[in-house]
């Protein structure tokens, strides 16, 4: 068992997959130069082991990073394209949505597009409007794409490995504020985490909280507080946004009768809505209270701490909403 950060764990995962399969390679800006000078050191040292043909330092050309990954995938390799964060990934939406997600279908199954695109999401202190966004819901909306949002070092490793082995294009969304998070990794174990499987982080009987990425950690803090107030909370880390683990959420809410979905991004149009709607539609008559959601207001992220804080869903807010649901119940 090794103690390592999220960034170390995903770097390990990429190296493991590159050793296992010579068709796997990575491309992106600064991949061979930005060694260890920030929390985002997911590539430190890989250039030494794999060389410049497989750890490709690219120009700042997002369209081509993504387009080249698509071309390389249909031509028989398994590229991992790094766009640093979704905010930059917006420069390459076309290649991801119009090409990567469509090629298999529109060419009648003649080709697969086995690529991973890393587009980190999430609030990071003081990063303001253009380095903080979370657009996992956009990609869940696109047929052809898989969207994963690992929250822990072990899941980061296991889901990156599974994503690289997946024949679908996978949007791999790390959270910028989790790269420094430490966890235990069993390096003797393959550690694969299946795509589409949620993880129950904590069992409970009164309330189900569904979250993903960084909000799972905040939800766990809230669940501790709720326990002190005699609310037994089940916390589910969705881990994959599409395809999301509907069975796990249904089973939990059937038991608790209450659902609170917590997301970091802007609530309007967010993926919490999809989960809430689906569960309300299927379990309406079994619910003790209406389905509830928490997310950010529909404002860009401001720079000053007082402004930025308005965008954050804090544990206290989750506790408050959980208590409201329990009190508002019909039984």
């Amino acid at each position: 068992m090794a103690r390592m950060t999220y960034a170390d764990a995903v770097r390990h995962a990429l190296a493991e997959e590159m050793r296992r399969d010579k068709r796997v390679w990575a491309l992106g800006e600064d991949l061979s130069t930005a060694h260890g000078n920030s929390s985002a050191n997911q590539y430190t040292g890989l250039i030494d082991e794999f060389g410049s043909k497989r750890i490709v330092n690219t120009p700042i050309s997002e369209s081509t990073i993504m387009g080249a990954a698509v071309g390389a995938a249909v031509a028989g390799t398994r590229p991992v394209a790094d766009l640093r964060m979704i905010d930059f990934g917006l420069c390459a939406i076309d290649e991801l949505v119009n090409q990567a997600a469509k090629i298999r279908y529109m060419f009648g199954g003649q080709a697969r597009v086995p690529l991973v695109v890393r587009e980190a999401i999430g609030l990071k202190a003081g990063m303001a409007a253009q380095h903080t966004q979370s657009y996992e819901a956009w990609f869940a909306h696109v047929p052809g794409l898989v969207v994963v949002t690992p929250a822990t070092p072990a899941d980061g490793r296991g889901l990156l490995k599974a994503s690289i082995r997946c024949d679908d294009p996978v949007v791999f969304m790390e959270h910028k504020d989790l790269w420094g998070l430490e966890g235990d990794i069993d390096l003797d174990d393959e550690g694969l985490v299946p795509i589409g499987k949620a993880k129950t982080l904590r069992a409970g009987i009164d309330l189900t909280i569904v979250a993903w990425s960084r909000m799972t950690h905040v939800s766990m803090l809230a669940a501790d507080e709720l326990a002190k107030q005699n609310v037994s909370t089940e916390v589910i880390d969705l881990r994959t946004i599409y395809p999301w683990d509907q069975q796990a959420v249904l089973a939990s809410v059937e038991k608790t009768g209450r659902l609170l979905v917590v997301q970091e991004s802007v609530l309007a149009g967010g993926f919490a809505n999809e989960i809430a709607a689906e569960i309300a539609q299927q379990l309406h008559w079994k619910l003790h209270a209406p389905v509830a959601r928490l997310g950010a207001p529909r404002i860009p992220v401001g720079y000053a701490p007082a402004l930025e804080a308005e965008h954050r869903v804090e544990a206290a807010k989750i506790v408050q909403e959980g208590l409201r649901l329990v009190k508002a119940s019909k039984t």
């Binding site: 387009g67 090629i103 060419f107 199954g109």
Partner: protein
């Protein structure tokens, strides 16, 4: 005395005829309402696809654009399957999922027509990187229109191809019009070759209405790319005889412009003159044209008789993970 090149030029003539006959029939079938969606014809531009692809191998990769019928046919895609695709029938090149704008035949290295301009350029450089990584003996050709050179990703791809010295040939098929806009009215600078040269990519102009010239120049640049000398760009000037779309009424140009092209520059007549000047009989040329007409006739009839794809196929080849519908 028979010219040693005659056989080669006859093959070029045949391919150009195939493309022309296919494209002109597209116009007819569009007027009849048999083509479900839109289609972009390449009438007048046959020498570019034919000449360049004549220097490629089946194993080489080709990325096309929205005006891709000619590229597909030149690369060896089956016209019978292509007609089924245009009509939206079972047995189409893409099983009826793509239509005219997404004709692809991976079995002959035709990696797809495409509805988004410039994406072929970025995908081409990636395919070239894959070839290098896998140690394969192939090259990549991207057919790009004159309108596309004003998109950012085209510049990115040129720079990228040169930085990594990739085995890519960019072919700028300059048909004068970007959709319905005269390209020169929206393009700054000294033209395509100057732009490529600015990135250090060797570039050359060729008369895209002269299939022999295109084929000969392509032989040189393809050889350079195949010899790992880095990317090359070929700027072939030609002319789009038909509209941007098959039903385009073309109010933006004078019909005299088209007539002038047909009299002075039209590529198939030019090639035919070369053949008859070098000992091929007119009747031999006519025989080729007649054979192709008969083939297209059969292909259209067969495709019109084919059924639509099973609706359940709408749900296949989306992705491995995740069901296309939640409530089956």
């Amino acid at each position: 005395m028979p010219n040693p090149d005659t056989e080669r030029i006859l093959a070029l003539y045949r391919t150009m005829h195939l493309i022309r006959t296919f494209e002109e029939r597209v116009g007819v079938e569009m007027q009849k309402g048999n083509i479900y969606g839109s289609a972009h014809q390449s009438t007048g531009q046959e020498a570019v696809a034919t000449g360049v692809v004549s220097q490629l191998r089946k194993t080489d990769y080709l990325f096309s654009n929205h005006r891709g019928h000619g590229h597909a046919l030149a690369k060896g895609a089956n016209p019978f399957a292509m007609w089924k695709e245009l009509f939206g029938r079972a047995g189409g090149t893409c099983g009826g999922k793509g239509g005219s704008m997404h004709i692809a035949d991976f079995s002959v290295g035709m990696l797809g027509a495409n509805g988004i301009v410039a994406d072929g350029a970025t995908m081409a450089v990636g395919a070239a990187q894959a070839i290098r990584l896998l140690g394969e003996d192939r090259i990549v050709v991207a057919f790009i229109g004159d309108g596309t050179i004003n998109r950012g990703p085209f510049s990115e791809a040129l720079n990228w191809a040169k930085v990594y010295e990739l085995p890519v040939l960019f072919v700028i098929e300059d048909n004068v019009y970007a959709s319905t806009t005269l390209t020169k009215t929206v393009m700054a600078g000294q033209g395509v070759v100057a732009r490529a040269t600015a990135f250090g990519v060797p570039a050359i102009n060729v008369d895209g209405n002269d299939v022999i010239a295109v084929s000969d120049v392509a032989a040189t640049v393809v050889a350079d790319v195949r010899a790992s000398k880095g990317p090359r760009l070929l700027h072939a000037t030609t002319y789009r005889v038909r509209g941007h779309l098959a039903l385009d009424k073309m109010f933006y140009r004078d019909k005299k412009e088209i007539d002038d092209f047909m009299v002075h520059h039209e590529p198939i007549g030019k090639c035919r003159r070369w053949l008859t000047d070098h000992g091929t009989s007119a009747s031999a040329c006519d025989t080729i044209a007649n054979e192709i007409s008969a083939t297209i006739e059969r292909a259209v009839a067969e495709a019109l008789a084919a059924p639509q794809p099973d609706a359940r196929l709408a749900y296949t080849d989306v992705q491995d993970r995740g069901a296309p519908v939640w409530h089956g």
